[in-house]
Structures are given as structure tokens and as C-alpha cells.
């Protein structure tokens, strides 16, 4: 027992306490949509470079999941959402400081593995019986956009196009990056994801089929400071995201400029 106490005193307690002494920097906590991983990692790095006293901690996840975390009191200063629906629900609950600002756009595309096991060469192939399609779950922004797109595509490809694609759906993924990874592995034949999800690394394994202009979906990404937290610092980060430097980093990852 004595030894255990000595161990705690010598090792555990200083280890727990030390970050407080060693890091005089403030930490900015950001919750960001999974689709933003690469762009926001780069943005965080650039922001830290010009703000030496700040450390940016980003947690990525499904927008809907992050919004639920904020509702339940998660410690976060900034929320970068993949759609306006979830941001608005936070605004309605008074959890956001000020107005959310749009900072990026993204288009919905059909993604197929380069190995193309389902021989999907165009959108119409996604409705061919036996083709394995994966989509986002309805609560996930990309899943909601997919359902809108399918309804619009039915005007071009026949009234039952959406229903036939839905019949091919083998999984409703909870996270758009997991969806893209499964396509990259060749486990499904096609899936609807954001253009930016086909990252430079993933592009070696994936092909992209654009949606026709009539069904084009542009996801709008809002960002906001969380009420009652480090709002001044959060605003500085948000301004940086919207600055030409931040926009350049987003464009590099195939995001569209803020609509």
C-alpha cells in the first residue's frame, strides 16, 4: 500500500498535473464534420503557426453526432457542420454565439472503386439490380443529400430510378469517410459521397461520377462559435477559415468556395 502511494506521488500525480505547468498555451477545441478531416488538419496547422499561443484540438465525427454532443454539453469552442439543418437546430436552442457563417461548399457525387466490381460506368448503373450501393444513414448529412439527389435524378432517369437505387442499398453508413473507405476497399460497387471525400490519397482507388446539373447538390458548410465558451478565440479561428489562406487550403481538398 505504501509503495502504491509512493508510486502515485512520484509518477501518477506529476504526470496528471504537468500539462498545466508545461503548456501555457490555450487550447481551442473544434468539433468538425468528418468530411473536413484533411482540410481542417491543414488549417489547424496554419492557424497555430500564426498564433503561437494557441493549440487547436479538432475532433471529427458525423455532423449529427457532433451536434448531439454539443447539445449534451460537450466542451467545444467551434462547430464546423456539414449541413445547415444541424447547425440551425443548435442555433434554435441558443447554443451558438452570434450567427453561423458559411465557409465552404461541397458537391455530391457517385463514387466507385477503380477495380469497378459492379461495372458501374454511369449513374444509371446504380439502379441495375444486383449492384451493391452504400449511402449515408438518413440522419447523416450526406445521407440526407443523397435522398434529395435521388428524388431529383428520378426526373432524368425515370420515375422509379430512386426506388431502384434504394433497393440496391446494402448499408446505411453512419459516417461518410467510413463509406468511402469501404468503397476504396472494393467492398461495395458504388456509393454517394462528397467530391472532397475522394481525397488525393483515396483517388488512387476511386473513380468519381458527377451528377448532372439538373440534380446537382451543393452542400453548404456553416461554422459557428459555441455560446459561453472562448468565443473571441473561436471567432479568430473562424475568420482564419474564411480568409483567403483558409479558403485556399479548403480548395486544395476539393471543396467549393463558400456559396
Amino acid at each position: 500500500m505504501k509503495r502504491l502511494l509512493a508510486f502515485l506521488a512520484l509518477v501518477a500525480v506529476p504526470a496528471l498535473a504537468s500539462p498545466v505547468h508545461a503548456a501555457p498555451r490555450t487550447t481551442l477545441r473544434v468539433l468538425a464534420a468528418a468530411s473536413l478531416v484533411d482540410a481542417f488538419d491543414a488549417i489547424a496547422k496554419a492557424f497555430e503557426k500564426s498564433n503561437a499561443d494557441v493549440r487547436v484540438r479538432i475532433e471529427y465525427g458525423g455532423t449529427q453526432q457532433l451536434a448531439a454532443q454539443i447539445e449534451h454539453g460537450a466542451e467545444a469552442d467551434v462547430f464546423a457542420s456539414a449541413d445547415e439543418r444541424w447547425m440551425n437546430s443548435l442555433v434554435a436552442r441558443g447554443l451558438v454565439a452570434g450567427e453561423p457563417a458559411l465557409f465552404a461548399g461541397n458537391t455530391l457525387v457517385l463514387v466507385t472503386p477503380k477495380s469497378n466490381p459492379g461495372r458501374v460506368g454511369g449513374l444509371e448503373d446504380a439502379a441495375r439490380p444486383g449492384v451493391k450501393v452504400i449511402v449515408g444513414a438518413e440522419s447523416v448529412p450526406v445521407g440526407a443529400y443523397t435522398r434529395i439527389a435521388l428524388a431529383r435524378l428520378s426526373r432524368d432517369f425515370g420515375a422509379d430510378f430512386g426506388r431502384r437505387v434504394q433497393k440496391n442499398v446494402v448499408s446505411q453508413e453512419e459516417n461518410v469517410r467510413a463509406l468511402v473507405s469501404k468503397l476504396a476497399l472494393g467492398e461495395a460497387d458504388a456509393g454517394f459521397a462528397y467530391r472532397s471525400d475522394v481525397t488525393h490519397a483515396a483517388a488512387r482507388h476511386l473513380d468519381v461520377i458527377e451528377l448532372p446539373a439538373s440534380a446537382r447538390i451543393v452542400a453548404r458548410y456553416p461554422i459557428a462559435a459555441i455560446a459561453g465558451r472562448q468565443t473571441a478565440l473561436a471567432k479568430r479561428f473562424i475568420d482564419f477559415v474564411r480568409s483567403p489562406a483558409g479558403q485556399e487550403l479548403l480548395a486544395r481538398e476539393n471543396f467549393l468556395p463558400a456559396p
Binding site: E138, V170, S171, E173, L185, E187
Partner: protein, 262 residues
């Protein structure tokens, strides 16, 4: 010192019981019962029961011989086998699911061979069962092995002097004596399969009625339909409590029967 021990135990008891109480007290019981009729809840419940029972059977069929051999034999590489059997217990379930995908996915290491036989695992109910078995089998093997190990070696020796061969000894002496541990292990495996989330969603995906088990349904409902999430959670907790109580009861009954016989 004793005060500290009591204090620590009290904190532990609170930590363990408070979340459960919160879950049960959040909504009136009648409302929870009503939500159980929800097709989303019913589909997930049915699928979970079917898959976790199938995974339990698979864990017993595959795990019983291994548990027996580990308990009664010494062989080269035993340590490696032990490690292998325990690994799924400590790996993050997502890693297990990802590894399963790389191995048994249709583009995976052995997946092409499976595909040739017409077996597809990702995005299928069978895939859910495979993922659950992978995660649950260590619990069964550990329990059954220790059950076999606790059988007094003299029983085996006595059977040998009566010229019973090993298979007969295993089936008529070892198995009955280790039965409480085997039943307990099977029940633990079932409980683990029932609660499996990470490996399932990674390997088998999420499709209502097909691969969306209760834990997956809870996770997704948590983001959209809090009341459904609560109802599903309450059912899961009740099932888990039932299974654990079953472990204890089965152990007690079987042990009692054995002492009476002896």
C-alpha cells in the same frame, strides 16, 4: 484504510449504478413499453436475438475443442494460441471489424475464395454473426478452459484405469463436471455478442432488418430519436441483466446438482 476502501467502493457503486438509473428513470415505463412496438425497435431486437444466439452456438462449437485442448495438453506454440484466443478481448472492436473486412471482405485475403463458394459476408446477416463470434469466442474459451482445468486430475486417471479412451472420458467425465463453467461461458459469450457494436458496423455495415442490431440502432437513434434510443437501451440493459443472472443461476443449479450427486 478501511474507510478508504468503503469510500472507493461507494464511488464505484455510484459510477456503475447511476447511468443505469438515469436510463430507466428518464421516461415513464409505459412510454418505454409503447416504443418497443416500433418497427425499428422490433426489427433490431429480432435481429439481435437471432444473431447473438447463432454467434453463441458458433462460439461453443468452435471453442469447446480448443478449450479442452488448452486445458489438458501442453504443446509447442501453446502460448501463441492462448494469445490469439485472447486478442479479440483487448483489440478495439473497430480494428477487429476492419481486420475482418481485410480478411473476409469480398476483396479481402480469403474473401475471394468465399465468394467463389457463393458466400458473401460484408453487408449480410451472416457477416454480423461472424463479427459477433469473433468478438465473443474468447469469453467462452476462457471460461470453458478454466472449467476443464478445475476438474480434479484424479477423475481422469480413474477413468483411464477403467480403460475409458480419451474421447469417452472427455464426454462422460470432463464435460459434465465442467458444465457449469461451460454454461456460464456460453452465456457470457451471448451477452458479449448482444452488445457488439464496433466490429459489426465496420464489417457488416448498417441496414435495418439485415445488419442493424440493437447496439447499432441505439447509436443511430441517439442522433435522431432519443426516445427510441432510450427504449432500445432499456431492453439491452434488461437482457444483459437477465443473461448475467442466468450465468449465476445456471452455475448455482448445476453446482447444486453435482454436490447432491457426489
Amino acid at each position: 484504510m478501511r474507510v478508504l476502501a468503503v469510500l472507493a467502493s461507494a464511488v464505484l457503486a455510484l459510477l456503475l449504478s447511476l447511468p443505469l438509473a438515469a436510463l430507466f428513470l428518464r421516461r415513464p415505463p409505459a412510454e418505454i413499453l409503447q416504443r418497443l412496438a416500433d418497427p425499428l425497435v422490433l426489427d433490431a431486437l429480432r435481429l439481435s436475438l437471432v444473431t447473438s444466439l447463432a454467434a453463441t452456438v458458433a462460439a461453443i462449437v468452435l471453442g469447446l475443442p480448443a478449450a479442452y485442448l488448452l486445458a489438458t495438453r501442453r504443446f509447442r506454440g501453446k502460448r501463441v494460441v492462448e494469445l490469439l484466443v485472447q486478442l479479440p478481448m483487448v483489440l478495439p472492436p473497430t480494428v477487429s471489424g476492419f481486420a475482418l473486412l481485410l480478411a473476409l471482405g469480398r476483396a479481402g485475403l480469403a474473401g475471394r475464395a468465399l465468394e467463389a463458394f457463393g458466400v458473401t459476408l460484408p453487408f449480410t446477416t451472416l457477416g454480423v454473426i461472424v463479427a459477433q463470434t469473433f468478438m465473443a469466442v474468447p469469453f467462452f474459451v476462457l471460461a470453458a478452459r478454466s472449467g476443464f482445468e478445475q476438474v480434479d486430475v484424479r477423475y481422469r486417471e480413474a477413468a483411464a484405469t477403467l480403460r475409458a479412451d480419451e474421447v469417452r472420458t472427455a464426454l462422460t467425465v470432463m464435460l459434465p463436471l465442467a458444465l457449469p463453467a461451460i454454461v456460464a461461458g456460453g452465456t457470457m459469450a451471448c451477452a458479449r455478442a448482444l452488445g457488439e457494436f464496433g466490429a459489426t458496423i465496420t464489417f457488416a455495415g448498417n441496414m435495418p432488418g439485415l445488419t442493424q442490431t440493437m447496439p447499432l440502432a441505439v447509436y443511430l437513434a441517439l442522433q435522431t430519436d432519443l426516445d427510441a434510443a432510450i427504449a432500445l437501451s432499456v431492453v439491452l440493459v434488461a437482457l444483459a441483466i437477465g443473461l448475467l443472472a442466468g450465468v449465476h443461476a445456471a452455475g448455482g443449479i448445476l453446482l447444486g446438482a453435482r454436490t447432491r450427486r457426489a
